[in-house]
Amino acid sequence: MAAEKPHLNLAVIGHIDHGKSTLVGRLMYEAGAVPAHVIEKYKAEAKEKGKESFAFAWVMDSLKEERERGITIDIAHKRFDTAKYYFTVVDCPGHRDFVKNMITGASQADAAILVVAAPDGVMAQTREHIFLSRTLGINQLIVAVNKMDAANYSEERYKEVVAQVSELLKMIGFKPKDIPFIPTSAFEGDNITKASENTPWYKGPVIMQALDDLKMPEKPDTLPLRIPVEDAYTISGIGTVPVGRVETGVMKKGDKVIFMPSGVEGEVKSIEMHHEEIPQAVPGDNIGWNVRGIGKSDVRRGDVCGLVSNPPTVADEFVGQIVVLQHPSAITAGYTPVFHAHTSQTACQLISLDKKLDPKSGQVKEENPTFIKAGDAAIVTIKPTKPMVMEPVKEIPQLGRFAIRDMGMTIAAGMCMSVKQK
């Protein structure tokens, strides 16, 4: 097998019906990631019917049909290759209640394609998704000004949409001049793999080129060791075995580790992944590790393992920037919902509302607001009701994000700006 290309997780975001799914389908199709038997079936049918122009739509329908009949094996995982990278694609769900999964889930996106339909321009979810992608730590963006076919491939309309989106991005801290804005029609295939004749006025990169121009994110293995504990088991003949996924840093056999907030320490006796012993674990590894000197009841889900020399931070209070996604009324100081961060679920109180930010601009709109509501972004001070590990997003991004849940809904998403240690 040839050496694997470097891997990037790609999120596709944007307003509903702006063509996200069509773009994902188009990328898969153009990159040759559609199974060979589907292409074969298509060729046979096209030959029989004497027409080839309906290729793309036909292939998408066939894939859907395969899925319904249970043929496609791994439906939650879409991948395709460009010249330089291989991508795993997440076509982000539209409903806000999935935001929790994007934050606490295993696959953090390295880059995003923001899809904005040219006829509509910026819509409510466009704004919300740009905010969220920033919260989720996505720093690399490609903007597809999509459905250009429905806007007569008008350069004027393209420029209007670019101006609208740039304005929004600038306020949130993105640099629009570093971001490619590509006029596309995912359905027709314009500017996906090669420059389209329909947009002779556009001289920038096509989507595939823009994907290859992305930079590899800095590897999290140079950060301090952090492994959120999913669970701890007692295994006869071995001892106590916590399991979890390495988020940052490297853990080696023999390391002295500490579990926070419990505070118990021990020495790593052995590490296993996929039932095989490994000398060291790196970010992304799903491992079980046996620690000398700890009992099963000393460690629990929500604890974070780090090195004794650089233990995980336990927050007495922390300051967070949040985006309120939905709430039936208003949020005031004293509100105590459940915070989902890494593997922990902890009730935390919003002890003060410090600043309300303008969601359209990101600028401070009000100091010490009396309430915040759906659609608002704010800086708030948060006090966990019991000890929990939280890290500033600037230092350890993987441990600095959270979702706020209440009444069975995802109320808000946020990131930790600073921590007052216990």
Binding site: S21, D74, A76, P93, G105, A106, D231
Partner: protein, 89 residues
Amino acid sequence: MGEVAAKMKVMPETIETDLNELKEKLRAAVPAGVEVYGEIVEEPVAFGLKALIVTIIVGDQEGGTEAVEEAFANVPGAENVQILELGRL
């Protein structure tokens, strides 16, 4: 409204938990409106411990994966439930 596929990891309560029985119980616990896609797969973790990987399909709508996460977490023999990957179909 579209559909969302989610790959979930269910950890057993102990290393002795009968995984075949757990698979059946998980299937029986699936709430209305949620579909288990294909087989529930055993994935080795460490020291003989195995996780169950379940792919589900839910509507892209209110509640998200909440109902199914809760239902699985309440199945006897299941210790915890985690979403590994998720995306629109």
